[in-house]
């Protein structure tokens, strides 16, 4: 079911190069899911999420202290190594200081041409926040127009918004298929689909996605009945994580991560001022833990637990990811207060498979006991 999506992930650099050749367009690396990709798409640019190699590296050591998250250092290392030499630009939307530093070091040492930093407030609800973020989007629009030579008219923005909203609706349809017990789509498959969507042309992804949704109900190899888990927490783009967890007799039925449902969960309103609508979408999406008010996110997690019949939560965090490290003890207590068991696992550049296997097995055993 997911070969095409996995091909995109595994061949992401070749895909982007070939897309450039095919379309003559520019490719921009994005450092965070707060980058309003629909604006890049509206300008004819292919946004691709900058990822690391998932292999130990030393290139970033001279640039970023080892106390910063391995993901941010891995991303920078890929830039320094020349893996991303096809990028025409990079865009950062300020969220955490880990990725911000990777981006800033990239600007200094990885020649890419176009660089743009969007300041995303930590406070999302205040009237000043919306006005400020809107001014940031206006700045972004101006530099994007100057870089690409494409005027971002209302019609162009509508095309970008429509493309991305179509994708978000399709993703929600896909995620509906994870709600039955057993689900019709596994967690590993869903993770591959979300991740691949960050790496390729959304129009092409929409076609693949629509076909996958059509095929899913009659598939010959659906997931088996098993305890239903949620994965929540920090960045993860290693598909081995859900694969290993599911191989131990669990179904990952939902996740609450930036490289997961946070990426596509809400839409841009198709009415009124376009940039204002885009601003509202990013200010009201499920937030990451750098934001000042986490209550909406906690409620969102609780809603997901209920809607997807979650029986236990695997909390993950990149080693040294300070926003999630501070958040997870509170989130653990919050889940416990609502009778939801959870366990925590720390991620590094490479997955500690043995440890994850042992701990997941133990967690599943405790879940079995609770279910009995």
């Amino acid at each position: 079911m997911i070969e095409a999506f996995q091909d995109i992930i595994n061949g992401r650099h070749d895909y982007a190069r070939s897309w450039k050749e095919r379309t003559g367009g520019k490719v921009a690396g994005c450092f965070c899911t707060y980058v309003p990709e629909e604006m890049l798409a509206a300008a004819g640019v292919l946004p691709v999420r900058v990822l690391g190699s998932l292999r130990p590296q030393e290139l970033a050591e001279a640039h970023i202290p080892t106390m910063y998250c391995p993901y941010s250092r891995d991303c920078l290392a890929e830039g320094l190594s020349g893996t991303y030499d096809y990028l025409d630009g990079v865009v950062m939307a300020k969220a955490c200081m880990h990725l911000q530093q990777a981006y800033e070091c990239w600007v200094l040492d990885v020649p890419t041409g176009y660089y743009h930093f969007i300041t995303m407030p930590w406070i999302l609800e205040d009237p000043e926040s919306r006005a400020y973020f809107l001014s940031e989007l206006l700045d972004f629009k101006e530099t994007l127009e100057a870089w690409t030579g494409v005027p971002l008219t209302d019609e162009a923005l509508d095309r970008g918004i429509d493309l991305y909203n179509s994708h978000r609706r399709l993703m929600h349809r896909l995620y509906e298929l994870r709600r039955p017990d057993p689900p019709l789509v596994s967690g590993t498959e869903a993770a591959a689909i979300v991740l691949s969507s960050m790496l390729c042309d959304k129009a092409e992804h929409n076609e693949l996605l629509a076909a996958a949704i059509e095929r899913a109900p009659g598939r010959p190899d659906p997931p088996n009945p098993a305890p239903r888990l949620m994965i929540a927490g920090g960045e993860n783009y290693d598909l081995e994580l859900p694969l290993l967890v599911e191989s131990l007799g669990a179904n990952v039925v939902i996740e609450e991560q930036c490289m997961g449902s946070r990426y596509f969960w809400n839409e841009v309103s198709e009415e009124g001022d376009r940039l204002g609508a885009i601003a509202d979408r990013y200010l009201t999406r499920p937030p990451c833990p750098t934001k000042t008010n986490q209550q909406p996110r906690y409620q969102h997690i609780l809603d997901l637990v209920r809607d997807y019949g979650v029986q236990g939560v695997l909390l993950v965090q990149q080693k040294f990811c300070s926003p999630h490290a501070v958040d997870i003890p509170d989130l653990t207590r919050f889940l416990a207060d609502h009778g939801i068991p959870s366990y925590f696992f720390e991620l590094d550049v490479t997955l500690a498979r043995g440890q994850l296997r042992t701990r997941t097995e133990a967690f599943l055993e405790t879940l079995d006991l609770e279910l009995v």
Binding site: P65, Y68, Q101, T290, F320, A325, P329
Partner: protein
């Protein structure tokens, strides 16, 4: 060559200001004075508009806890028992840990009544959310945005913070029930600017050879401008200190009599291990510059010529401020400027290059502070830039407050090797 040296006459006054600050804080509840808490560089002058108050300044409180390793460990362990890992922000753990165990360096944790916090890193909102929830007290957030612009902030970024401050004034009236006094704000703002400008002037005099002050002393001397910049006594103190430092420069009075080499140290030091600065003095090395110490309590501009210099007058507004709007704008501009070199790699590199060149430093020491992502931001890239310039550098890893991260032997070895690479032997 040996220089004359002399004990700093202003030293005792600095200690007394600090003592009175904490004495007021510890006695505030008994004396009916409201206690506000927030970051060390929270906009205290804005609170002055509602009258007298005591300030529980987050980072300075945590640094004081960190000075007492046993207490610091107790605070850390209280946090770790509740699930926060060893690598979580050291200051957060000291402060919240101190609150949880109700212990501080001078008695119980001084329970604040209100939180007025300018968020400037990923964790400060979580920090004060914990405090608000634990104590069930009102909280107002503002935020110092990192806008990616080196040298000077965007006008929109300053205005954004000033607009938040304007709403904070309404909040202050609402939660305290007191009428806001604009004249008190204007006076406090003027004093704040004066304190910080004076500190910058003092830091600029560190360019002199021999250096009139050593960094270990400067860690104490910068504090009044951080915790009570709006206090008239603090302005008087800095005037006196400035005059004394000027006299020392005029008379070639050194902080370290055997000064023969000068180095830069950034960022926050391990508060429990300041003796490492004395170790360097055995080699005739004085730590004469620090972006952290200069910037945190000063007002600076990064010139287009790459020179870091004391800001003489505030940009873009009348001075002294004549209206609430002008005062809030000035506070916003200062707050953003303070953290800029810690939140922008290009700014940090530019400042470090200026400190090396203009403050006559021959080497640079960087502390990779596992307990603070803000002050370790840009450090490796900065070190690389200085190395590329031919500057001798060293790094050491530790935590500013968690002594469990401290390895005395390793740091000593590194310092000794660094001294050798500078061509120095113990005197």
């Amino acid at each position: 060559m040996a220089y004359k040296t002399k004990k700093l006459e202003s030293w005792q006054w600095a200690k007394e200001i600090r003592y009175r600050h904490y004495q007021k804080l510890q006695g505030a509840r008994e004396n009916g004075i409201p206690i506000f808490t927030g970051s060390g560089h929270a906009p205290w002058s804005i609170i002055s508009g509602i009258g007298d108050f005591a300030a529980l300044c987050g980072e300075p409180w945590s640094a004081s806890v960190g000075y007492f390793p046993e207490l610091a460990q107790e605070c850390s362990e209280a946090m770790e028992a509740k699930g926060w890992g060893r690598d979580v922000c050291g200051y957060l753990k000291q402060y919240v840990g101190s609150m949880l165990i109700d212990k501080g360096p001078w008695g119980p944790f001084p329970r604040p009544d209100y939180i007025f916090q300018s968020v400037d890193c990923d964790l400060e909102s979580s920090w004060y959310n914990m405090v608000a929830q634990h104590l069930d007290i009102p909280l107002f957030y503002t935020e110092i945005l990192h806008d990616g612009h080196p040298r000077t902030p965007k006008d929109a970024t300053v205005q954004y913070l000033a607009d938040h401050y304007a709403r904070a004034v309404e909040w202050l009236q609402e939660v305290t029930g007191k009428e806001y006094n604009d004249q008190a704000l204007l006076d406090a703002m003027t004093l704040t600017w004066e304190s910080r400008k004076l500190w910058s002037e003092i830091c600029e005099m560190q360019k002199a050879v021999p250096a009139p002050l050593d960094m270990k002393s400067m860690y104490t001397l910068y504090l009044p401008a951080e915790i009570e910049p709006h206090n008239p006594e603090v302005v008087d103190f800095y005037k006196s200190l400035r005059d004394e430092v000027r006299h020392r420069v005029d008379k070639n009075i050194a902080a370290v009599g055997n000064e023969r080499c000068r180095v830069l140290h950034d960022d926050i030091p391990p508060w429990h291990a300041l003796h490492l600065f004395r170790l360097m003095e055995e080699y005739g090395v004085v730590v004469s510059a620090s972006a952290y110490v200069f910037g945190l309590s000063g007002v600076w501009e990064e010139g287009e010529d790459g020179v870091y210099r004391a800001q003489v007058t505030p940009p873009k507004i009348n001075y002294p401020p004549r209206t609430r709007e002008e005062a809030l704008w000035l506070q916003a501009w200062m707050d953003i400027s303070v953290v800029r070199p810690m939140t922008n790699v290009q700014s940090a590199i530019s400042v470090w290059r200026s400190l090396i060149r203009d403050w006559n430093c021959q080497g640079a020491i960087f502390h990779i502070n596992r307990g603070c992502i803000l002050t370790s931001y840009g450090v490796m890239q900065g070190r690389k830039a200085l190395k590329d310039d031919g500057v001798t550098t060293m790094i050491y890893e530790s935590s500013h407050v968690d002594k469990r991260e401290w390895n005395e032997t390793e740091v000593r070895d590194r310092i000794e090797a660094f001294m050798e690479s500078l061509g120095l032997k113990p005197l």
